[in-house]
Symmetry: C2
Subunit: 430 residues, 2 copies
């Protein structure tokens, strides 16, 4: 598999200054964020439905629109996760055309971060970094640790000290150096900016951020392709830094511009936890700025009190005619259970947020029941089992005897003891 031949470079979002390709995330002139811009015309004809279908069943089928350095051979099969029709959840919340984009099973580390990390590390190698790192609320740490190990890069990963045990283990097991910081994510992130400068390490979400962020577009490409090359009416996206929701929209706009899908104004809905809802608040208030908050929520992967892409995300949401909602910790846990019980998908707290927010958007009439809506589930439930602690009774053990089982079942769940079920043996099954 050869790397993309697409021309791309970093450019300032505000003043338009060009930077070529360097490990830099902010404009030296006006301090605005830098973004990867592509020569779309050089892509036309090379990024088609057919060329994509001929590609592998992972994100690299979209490599023409990813910042892949020349000579880089992507061989890790990241992404291209299931898009499932959510009929049962839809019945419960009054949604007839509901889909779940399920990054809870993303390869290799069960969150959408695998996408952004694979793109960032491709560039880290090209820039000559031998040590990479990140500031993380958990999923990013897992992904950087795993992918760096496979690429033979050293990894030094900084996290808030109260990170869930599973996420800490799921980072250390790959041999990465994990550093717990006595502070919240915003403290960690600030420190990483300083470390990146002093140590010359490639921090995927600091000095490699513009490249890293592009990986999120693949969620958008996949949604469009898996819906049969059409765009949904709505997308519901959890917001931490505010980058993912913007990149999904960027992906849709690129597909429209290149003629792979018909034009449609997709409405974007942001989901946050009430205990850390700076962007949701800005959307509801109609602000163009973010009022930072001190995070206080079990949804720790969304616990970014001062989100880098916050103002831009709020603005974009309103532009598309979307909205944002935030939900309590109690609703988050209910959301996790609801998705599990209806669709058999076990998501982490961020997914509980997104599910609960989706339900609210429908019940408040912000989305009509017949609209096609994709709910972005970004991480796996096994990463935040703490949130469900004590929620389920672990009952007494039963002796391995039929009589003991009979007695137990009558005691705990009489409804399971029905009249003998009639078996439909339709003259042999076929």
């Amino acid at each position: 598999m050869v790397s993309s031949c697409t021309k791309y470079e970093l450019r300032c979002n505000e003043c338009g200054k060009s930077y070529g390709n360097v490990p830099l995330s902010a404009c030296s002139e006006c301090l605005a964020p830098l973004e990867v811009q592509y020569d779309l015309e050089s892509v036309r004809g090379r990024f088609t439905r057919e060329s994509i279908a001929a590609g592998p069943a992972n994100i690299w089928r979209y490599k023409e629109l990813l910042p892949i350095p020349e000579g880089f051979q992507p061989d890790l099969p990241v992404g291209f996760t299931p898009l499932v029709r959510a009929k049962n959840l839809g019945k419960r919340i009054g949604a007839d055309n509901l889909y779940v984009k399920n990054d809870a099973v993303c390869f290799p580390t069960l969150s959408f971060k695998d996408r952004v990390v694979s793109v960032a590390l491709a560039n880290a190698q090209a820039f000559g970094f031998t040590t990479v790192g990140c500031s993380s609320t958990g999923n990013l740490a897992n992904s950087v640790a795993a992918q760096a190990a496979r690429l033979g890069l050293r990894a030094c990963i900084l996290v808030p000290s109260d990170l869930e045990a599973a996420k800490i283990l799921n980072t250390q097991v790959y041999g990465a150096r994990l550093v717990r910081i006595d502070g919240n994510y915003d403290h960690v992130n600030r420190l990483c900016t300083q470390i990146a400068d002093e140590y010359n390490w490639g921090f995927v979400n600091v000095n490699l951020r513009p490249y890293y962020a592009e990986g999120s577009k693949t969620v958008g490409y996949e949604i469009a392709e898996q819906l049969g090359w059409r765009l949904p009416d709505n997308v519901v996206v959890p917001m931490a830094g505010g980058s993912l929701i913007r990149k999904i929209r960027k992906a849709f706009r690129e597909l429209i511009a290149l003629g792979l899908v018909e034009h449609k104004n997709v409405r974007f809905f942001g989901a946050q936890a009430t205990g850390c809802s700076p962007i949701s608040h800005a959307v509801k208030e109609g602000w163009d700025y973010i009022e930072p908050q001190r995070p206080n929520t079990i949804a720790r992967s969304l616990a970014i009190g001062n989100p880098a892409d916050g103002p831009a995300a709020a603005k974009m949401i309103r532009e598309t005619g979307g909205w944002a909602e935030d939900v309590s910790d109690v609703e988050i846990v209910s959301g996790i259970q609801e998705l599990a019980e209806t669709e058999g998908i076990f998501t982490e707290t961020a997914g509980g947020v997104t599910t609960a927010v989706t339900a609210r958007l429908y019940s408040h009439g912000r989305i009509s029941r017949d609209e096609t809506t994709v709910v972005c589930i970004t991480g796996n439930g096994l990463k935040t089992t703490d949130a469900l602690e004590g929620r389920f009774e672990v009952e007494r053990a039963v002796k391995p005897k039929l009589a003991a089982f009979d007695e137990y079942i009558r005691e705990v769940d009489g409804s399971l003891v029905g009249a003998a079920q009639e078996l439909v043996l339709a003259g042999g099954v076929q």
Copy 2:
């Protein structure tokens, strides 16, 4: 998507008696296991490389050779997991052509059991069962609970009472009734046979076992297809009941018979934990029978002391010129770490078994370094984090100040504090 039109039925492996299609797993005449047999000639021409490539990126691309009842519309995108080239692990253990088949990220519940359950439940519905269940060491419980929820079936799941906390939670969260049995897996399984009869429930690995087992063939189909329609020289497979390893071979034989791959005698290597190694022992001793053991190992998903397919698996392994090995609990944990550190894949204890056994097979010269070997990783590490408890130091939290970080890093990992790294900015990255 329409269901398979392939004719199939249950037949006794020993006396050949036919049963049509019924929820039955043993022959009433000679008590041998029943197996699904296909009219392969009716499949020829409909199961081709092209027809498969045109199918979806999941196990249903192989539906022509799966027992799918007429009228069943598979819509859950199970399987088609990554097959990754394991260069780093290979370097460490002296294997030049090593691959990992990674079911640790299988959809929906992160183990290969998702494959067998989806096929079993398709048949459960056709037989009219409204409650399904299983006896399980964990992964099967998760999968039945999740998939039953999505299909609207009740689920009653029985497990040994000492099952890992994550596996218990990852079953209850879907709304399934989980019953802890005061005994080991073999006790649980025996009890389930009695319950299946009395309650008329569809136990996927008891009365639906022949259909369930066929789902494992998809591991073999995928390996062959992902290697470019060729068979490997060797496959290393963990063994609990002994079914998976046999079904992978069945899949390879079907592909050869139907002309999708060239004939090759693939060698099969079974992997067990020394603390529960009845099949490995039988292979090493050259026995045609199993001497049951009382399991005592952290690899609880392989803790089946009296494996149903044990004798047949041992016989098959020797027929192919393969071998079996078993490893200690210490080696299992090292195996988990080794796979994580080299390939960025975090597997559960069963995967640690398989990785450690693979290393031993190469170091003992049973597999030569240039041979193509696929290592089957069957479940995710987040399910057995208990096994790694205490293995990694959770160090003190560091103040969010650069000076504090500097001091900390010098103290714990001086090698990370190198001379400023030279960045290779190759005249812009492209």
